[in-house]
C-alpha cells in the first residue's frame, strides 16, 4: 500500500517538474490548520488524549464522501515507523520536522500519490497539506478545500464566527492557512539582486526561508515564500496575493537569467558544465556541494544549455542524497565520510544511464 511505496522510493508527485512556471517554481503548497472543538491543543494532551484525536481522524477517513479525494488515504502512527522512515517523510516535504518531536503521540495521513498529507497532533490537531509541482496554488487550495469539507462532515472543528478557525498559535488563527511556493533563484543570486528582491517580498508581508534552512545560507538557491497573515483575508485573497508576488519574482528571475545568458554566456556555460562534470565523475561528495552543483545544473536545464539530466531526476536526487535515504539504501549505519562516498556513487550511477 501507499506507505510502503512512499518509504521505498524517493519519488513524490511534486517532483514531476510539470505544471505552469516549473522552470522556476519547483512546487506549490497549501496547508491549513484545524483543531477539534472541546479538546485542548496538542501540546497540552497526554498520551491517551492524543490517541483520541488520532482515533477521531481515523473515523473521519472511514466516513469519507468523496472517495477519489480521500480514497487511498492511509494513516500511520509515527511510532509505527522507523526513525529513518520518519526522517524520509521530512526529506520528501510530506511532514514538518516538528512532527518528529514526541513522535509517539503523532500520526500522519498520506494519499497514495502523496499530493495530500495530514499531520495529526503537530502544533494543531490537524494540518492538512496539498503539494503540487509548478505554480498551482489555486489547484492546491481547491483540493484542500474539498478534503477539509469532507473531514468536517465527521469532525467538529474549533471555529469562531469572529476569529475563524482557532489555532494553537494566534499567528495562524482565521483561515489557518499557509500557502507557499518553492522557488529556484540562481539568476538573482549570481547577479546579486537576491537581497533586494527578497527584502521587498518581506516588506509585502511574506515570509522567506531557505530550503532545509538550518544555517544562514539557503541550500541550492531554493527559497520558500509564504503568506504571513491569516486573519482578515479570505483564502482566495491570500492565494491571489501570493501568486501575484510570485509572478513578479519570476519576471525578475527571468530578467536576471537573460542578462546572464546575454552578457556572460561563457561564464555560465563553464559553471554548468563544471557542475555536470563534477557530478558525473566525483568520488566524494558532501550534501552541501551536491546541492550547489544541482542548482547550477538546474539553471543550465532552465536556460536550455543542457538537457541530459531532467529536472525530475534532480528533484528526486535532492531526497536521495539526504542521510536518511543513503543509510536506508545501504541498509546499515554510515559515517559522514562513508555517506559522502556513497552519495557520489549514487549520483554517478544516476548520471551514467543518461545521455550526455
Amino acid at each position: 500500500m501507499s506507505f510502503k511505496n512512499t518509504l521505498n522510493s524517493a519519488h513524490s508527485k511534486w517532483m514531476d517538474a510539470e505544471g505552469p512556471e516549473a522552470d522556476i517554481v519547483l512546487s506549490s503548497r497549501v496547508r491549513v490548520a484545524r483543531n477539534l472543538a472541546g479538546i485542548p491543543f496538542p501540546h497540552l494532551l497526554d498520551a491517551q488524549k492524543s490517541e483520541d484525536v488520532i482515533h477521531a481522524v481515523r473515523l473521519a477517513l472511514v466516513n469519507k464522501e468523496e472517495p477519489e479525494l480521500l480514497g487511498g488515504l492511509e494513516i500511520s502512527g509515527l511510532g509505527e515507523l522507523s526513525p529513518l522512515d520518519r526522517q524520509l517523510l521530512v526529506d520528501k516535504h510530506l511532514i514538518s520536522p516538528d512532527l518528529l518531536k514526541n513522535f509517539q503521540s503523532k500520526a500522519v495521513v498520506l494519499r497514495e500519490d502523496e499530493v495530500v498529507s495530514i499531520m495529526v497532533n503537530e502544533e494543531d490537531h490537524l494540518r492538512i497539506q496539498c503539494l503540487l509541482p509548478g505554480l498551482q496554488l489555486k489547484e492546491a487550495w481547491d483540493i484542500i478545500n474539498r478534503v477539509d469539507d469532507d473531514l468536517e462532515k465527521t469532525l467538529d472543528y474549533a471555529f469562531s464566527e469572529k476569529l475563524g478557525y482557532l489555532t494553537s498559535c494566534p499567528t495562524n488563527v482565521g483561515t489557518g492557512m499557509r500557502a507557499s511556493v518553492m522557488l529556484h533563484l540562481p539568476g538573482l543570486k549570481i547577479t546579486k539582486h537576491l537581497g533586494g528582491v527578497l527584502g521587498t517580498i518581506v516588506k509585502l508581508g511574506m515570509t522567506v526561508r531557505g530550503l532545509y534552512g538550518e544555517g544562514t545560507e539557503a541550500v541550492g538557491d531554493l527559497f520558500q515564500v509564504s503568506n504571513q497573515i491569516t486573519l482578515g483575508q479570505s483564502e482566495e485573497e491570500i492565494i491571489n496575493n501570493l501568486e501575484s508576488i510570485t509572478r513578479q519574482i519570476l519576471t525578475q528571475e527571468h530578467a536576471a537569467r537573460n542578462a546572464l545568458y546575454n552578457d556572460r554566456r561563457e561564464v555560465i556555460e563553464d559553471r554548468i558544465y563544471r557542475a555536470y562534470g563534477a557530478l558525473r565523475y566525483a568520488r566524494v561528495l558532501t550534501s552541501e556541494e551536491a546541492m550547489r552543483l544541482f542548482s547550477d545544473l538546474r539553471l543550465g536545464l532552465e536556460l536550455k544549455m543542457i538537457s541530459a539530466v531532467p529536472a525530475r531526476v534532480l528533484n528526486e536526487l535532492m531526497v536521495k542524497i539526504r542521510p536518511a535515504f543513503l543509510i536506508k539504501s545501504a541498509g546499515r549505519e554510515l559515517s559522514g565520510y562513508q555517506r559522502d562516498v556513497l552519495r557520489a556513487d549514487l549520483v554517478r550511477k544516476e548520471f551514467e544511464g543518461l545521455p550526455c
Binding site: F41, H43, E161, Y165, P170, G196, T216, I229, Q233, Q252
Partner: protein, 175 residues
C-alpha cells in the same frame, strides 16, 4: 569601458536591473562584482514567527509590567492554561482561550495580522450563524443582480428567502 565602482579595472560584468519603470545597467570589473553583497536583506531563520510573537507578548503583557508572577495570573477555565504560560510559549491551550483571554489577544492579533475579523471560509456543518450570515450576503448579491436584469419572479423568491433567513437569524440572536 572602465568599472563603475573602482574606475580602475576593465568592466567585464554587466548587470541589467529591470525595475517597474526603468532598466538600469551596471558595469563592473570581476573584483568589484564579487565584492558586492546582497543589500537590505538579512536572512535570519532563527527569528521565527513564534519567537517574534513571544517577544511581542512579553512586551505587552509580561516583562514584569504587572509585577505578578506568571503562575498566579488568571487561568483559562476550560484547559487550565495560565496567561503567563501563554506569554512564555506563544501557544494557547484550547479554543476557549480565545474568548477567555480576549482582551489580551485582540490587540495582539491587530498587530500581527492587521485585523481582528475572519473573512474567509466558514465550515459547512459547524459554522452555525456565520454560515447563515455568509449565505445571506450571497443571496443579497443575487437579489441585486436579479433586479438589475429585471428577473422579477426570481427576485421575489430570493426576497422571501432572505426575509426568512433574517428572521431565523434574529431569533437565534435572542435565544
Amino acid at each position: 569601458m572602465l568599472c563603475e565602482r573602482c574606475g580602475q579595472r576593465q568592466a567585464t560584468v554587466h548587470f541589467t536591473e529591470i525595475t517597474n519603470e526603468s532598466k538600469q545597467e551596471t558595469h563592473l570589473c570581476e573584483v568589484c562584482a564579487g565584492e558586492i553583497k546582497p543589500q537590505g536583506f538579512v536572512f535570519a531563520p532563527q527569528l521565527s514567527l513564534q519567537n517574534f510573537l513571544v517577544s511581542l507578548l512579553n512586551q505587552e503583557l509580561g516583562g514584569g509590567g504587572y509585577g505578578i508572577p506568571a503562575d498566579t495570573v488568571r487561568k483559562c477555565e476550560s484547559c487550565g492554561v495560565a496567561e503567563g504560560q501563554f506569554v512564555k510559549q506563544g501557544l494557547l491551550g484550547c479554543g476557549s482561550c480565545y474568548p477567555n483571554f480576549e482582551e489580551k489577544i485582540l490587540p495582539l492579533l491587530r498587530r500581527v495580522h492587521g485585523s481582528t475579523r475572519h473573512t474567509g471560509k466558514v465550515p459547512e456543518r459547524t459554522g452555525g450563524r456565520a454560515r447563515l450570515v455568509k449565505e445571506l450576503d450571497k443571496m443579497r448579491d443575487q437579489l441585486k443582480e436579479a433586479v438589475s436584469r429585471e428577473e422579477f419572479e426570481r427576485a421575489a423568491v430570493l426576497r422571501d428567502n432572505i426575509r426568512q433567513l433574517e428572521k431565523s437569524l434574529e431569533e437565534g440572536a435572542e435565544s
